[in-house]
């Protein structure tokens, strides 16, 4: 992507956008299309998926066969640059189960971590959209009014019908495949919004058959992957994992889908390696722009604009606001409510795999598909929950895994004594004979899960860093146990043998942050005293400050947040452009 240096910036922009991922990309797309002059600041390096994506490379083409290392936490080919669970020179502080006090986060594996929170950050143009899972589920009518429904958590300041048209537009622009099934709180899309889903793979068909017997629906997944070409983007050719990025632009990345048309308007300047420290204010308390560290020169720079839009990720945007202290805002910018950094949410996660004898010795066939799951299970127990039959609130969806993937270092060889011809026969027999289930469920915001500035620690650029507090409630822990039991039941129904089924609520749930769905840290609401933003992602206390990433979320339904982040950013920035035009901001 063409980028500029700080010296070449305009004296004044209409908007500064901090971040270039799902939120930054969508905000830039909407604002530049509306004719506004925009400066985008990205903390990471410039990145071009067209030139840099390893398409068709085999694991033998990677060091250590592509294995995850302390340098590349999701494996060599993962489209994450200069980051992961740790970012060089940019620490964050956590508590650890095994020792008291605060510690710099250092674990590079999210499994078996003793950290109370783990935080995934890349440092690249497009952010996490380059490697993300592409799962694109709409939140439903219940999900925007959870407190009204069961008395827990927070309501959003609008209803599903208010965001529905923005979901339609986002899906059509991004390119999402899926189907309309008319299921409870699992919204259908308007005609023409979705692309046709790909056919299920064999193991997915087998799971569907046996789950159905248990009353568990298995329907086409919703993925931000093209099955038909649109907007000069090719359809998926069913090879090469999406996590590497996509040089043919078949899946959604901010860098291939949102930033190129924004740049094409002539209204977007991008500066990369620009780490924003704080939002600057005038005497009246209006935002004037930002101060940022130009990583290339090591100098602090200033950029000015009529509006500042933070899209740095839920926690990073909260960090910038908390670091923007002034006489007017001694507790951080627009933080009169004290809610900046609060209500940090992730997704409840619990996984279980199993061995399925019926899948042994399956005739070879190409099961690559889109690399993502082609089917999934939406939450299906709304009525049972309503009838008081479950011991937890809210629900989860099931992500279905397994099949005949491109082989990696882990080869399934259950007979640990086999070698020679026997071992080779075993490898063939057991290849593709495992399935895996990942539960991804709703976390209810609570008072004990939040981030704040560490009083001492600073990053490489001298900017105070975050420290994290985390606590799951019983709702989430019991939900994780329900996941384990459900997955075991499906595996057993298939005639298979589950792995270790964890029924201890403390152990069944994965660690905070590990699902990489950080939201809620600048929550929106109807009451300025109890929320940071109004329904347009506009700060209650600073009219020309907006946050359009995951921070505004008042709840975190089991539906993965990226699609909602984009629909919300589209809705908020369309309103913002309108208000600017009317002279209201």
């Amino acid at each position: 992507m063409p980028v500029i240096t700080p010296r070449k910036t305009l004296p004044n922009y209409d908007a500064i956008i901090v971040g270039s991922g799902a939120a930054g990309g969508m905000s830039a797309y909407v604002l530049t299309k509306a004719g506004l002059k925009v400066l985008m600041l990205e903390a990471g390096r410039n990145y071009d998926p067209i030139m840099e994506t390893p398409m068709f490379q085999t694991n033998a083409d990677a060091p250590l066969r592509g294995t995850a290392t302390p340098d590349k936490h999701f494996g060599f080919f993962d489209a994450t640059v200069n980051g992961g669970w740790t970012v060089p020179g940019e620490p964050y502080m956590v508590k650890r189960e095994d020792k008291p006090g605060w510690h710099e986060a250092s674990d590079w594996k999210a499994t078996n971590t003793t950290q109370n929170f783990t935080w995934w950050r890349p440092r690249m143009l497009g952010g996490r959209t380059n490697h993300w899972g592409r799962i694109s589920l709409r939140m439903g009518p219940y999900d925007f009014k959870p407190k009204s429904r069961d008395g827990l958590g927070l309501d959003w300041p609008f209803e599903y019908k208010d965001i529905e048209p923005w979901y339609d537009k986002t899906e059509a622009l991004v390119g999402v495949f899926g189907s309309n099934e008319g299921l409870e709180n699992t919204p259908d899309s308007s005609n023409g919004s979705l692309q046709p889903p790909p056919h299920p793979r064999a193991h997915e068909m087998l799971i569907r058959k046996h789950a159905k017997g248990l009353g568990i629906p298995v329907i086409p997944s919703h993925m931000a992957i093209l099955t038909k070409p649109i907007n000069n983007r090719a359809a998926c050719f069913y090879a090469t994992p999406c996590g590497r990025g996509c040089s043919i632009k078949a899946n959604f990345q901010s860098t291939t889908v949102l930033l190129p048309p924004a740049v094409e308007t002539g209204n977007l300047d991008i500066i990369t390696d620009a780490m924003v420290r704080e939002v600057t204010l005038d005497k009246s308390g209006k935002a004037t722009g930002v101060l940022y560290m130009d990583k290339a020169s090591g100098k602090e720079e200033r950029a000015t604009a009529r509006v500042v839009v933070l899209c740095a990720s839920g926690c990073e945007s909260a960090r910038i606001m908390l670091n923007s202290k002034s006489a007017l805002f001694p507790n951080g910018l627009a933080n009169g409510s004290g809610k900046v950094g609060r209500y940090l949410m992730d997704t409840v996660g619990s996984n279980l795999g199993g061995h399925i004898p019926a899948l042994e010795n399956c005739p070879p066939y190409n099961a690559d598909g889109t690399s993502a799951m082609h089917v999934y299970t939406p939450w299906w127990l709304y009525q049972e929950q309503l009838a008081g039959k479950l011991d937890f609130a809210r629900g989860y969806h099931i992500e279905i895994g397994g099949g005949r993937h491109m082989p990696e270092m882990g080869v399934s060889l259950p007979d640990s004594k086999a070698y020679g011809k026997k071992m080779k026969d075993d490898a063939r027999r057991y290849y593709g004979a495992s399935v895996g289930f990942s539960g991804r469920g709703e976390m209810i915001p609570n008072e004990d899960s939040y981030c704040e500035l560490d009083p001492n620690k600073k990053d490489r650029w001298g900017i105070p860093v975050l420290r994290f507090y985390w606590k799951w409630s019983d709702h989430e822990k019991k939900q994780a146990v329900h996941m384990q039991k459900t997955f075991a039941a499906i595996i057993e129904a298939m005639g298979g043998k589950p792995g270790r089924v964890e029924t201890d609520p403390e152990k069944a749930i994965m660690g905070g942050g590990t699902i990489i769905h950080e939201v809620g840290t600048t929550c929106m609401g109807a009451d300025p005293k109890a929320s940071v933003l109004n329904q347009w992602s506009q700060a209650w206390e600073v009219k020309n400050l907006f946050v359009t990433d995951g921070g505004p979320f008042a709840s975190n339904a089991d539906k993965n947040p990226t699609l909602t982040i984009m629909a919300l950013a589209m809705r908020s920035c369309t309103w913002l452009a309108d208000e600017l035009r009317k002279g209201n901001i």
Partner: protein
């Protein structure tokens, strides 16, 4: 594959380039990473395989690795022997890597190689690489049998070496054929599984 730029939009966009921002070099950033400079780094070129660390296995060790890998993964109707697809080179690359997990493997594998060499000399009067096929089999059978001295001393090494060799083997295109992976090919449509697969699973 498709290395075409964005076509017109990109070319137009490029005209607007005033100057390209200088990114931090991987080395600069690595100064802050927990891993030493010899690692892959946090921003490697993903299109080019480079092993930045020196390889440490001796020629004698490599001969044992090669021979042992071929006993564990011999040629058969589905594919060639391990040494023919670079498994020996892979084991060297793996055990030489400057990461904690690989360093742990290095210690165990080098110790194991020395043990199996010694054991072969003791039993057959020659090093493992020079022993006959029946001798290899006799020794490995002894290792995987429980309650033998060879099992006590050699089984953990055998298991570790076997799993690493299998990972190295099946992640090659020849290994794909041997295990039954037939993907990584572009397709215009993603079809239903073939009839023989559906029949195998009782889904026909």
């Amino acid at each position: 594959m498709n290395n075409e730029p964005f076509s017109l939009s990109r070319r137009e966009a490029l005209k607007r380039v005033i100057s390209v921002s200088v990114a931090l070099t991987a080395m600069e950033l690595n100064a802050f990473a927990a891993t030493p400079l010899r690692g892959i780094g946090t921003d490697p070129n993903l299109l080019k395989k480079e092993i930045p660390w020196p390889l440490i296995l001796s020629d004698a060790e490599k001969r044992i690795v090669s021979a042992l890998a071929d006993v564990i993964i011999p040629a058969d109707e589905h594919g060639p022997a391990a040494s023919k697809v670079g498994v020996m080179e892979f084991i060297d690359e793996w055990v030489s890597a400057p990461y904690e997990a690989q360093e742990k493997d290095r210690a165990a594998i080098q110790k194991g190689l020395a043990w199996i060499e010694e054991e072969s000399k003791k039993r057959f009067g020659k090093g493992f690489a020079d022993a006959a096929a029946e001798q290899h089999t006799a020794l490995l059978d002894d290792i995987v049998k429980t309650d033998t001295d060879a099992h006590k001393k050699g089984y953990d090494f055998f298991k570790l070496f076997r799993d690493r060799a299998a990972g190295g083997y099946y992640s090659t295109p020849e290994g794909w054929k041997a295990i039954g992976y037939v993907g990584n090919l572009p397709m215009a449509e993603f079809p239903a599984p073939p009839p023989e697969v559906l029949k195998h699973l009782g889904l026909a």
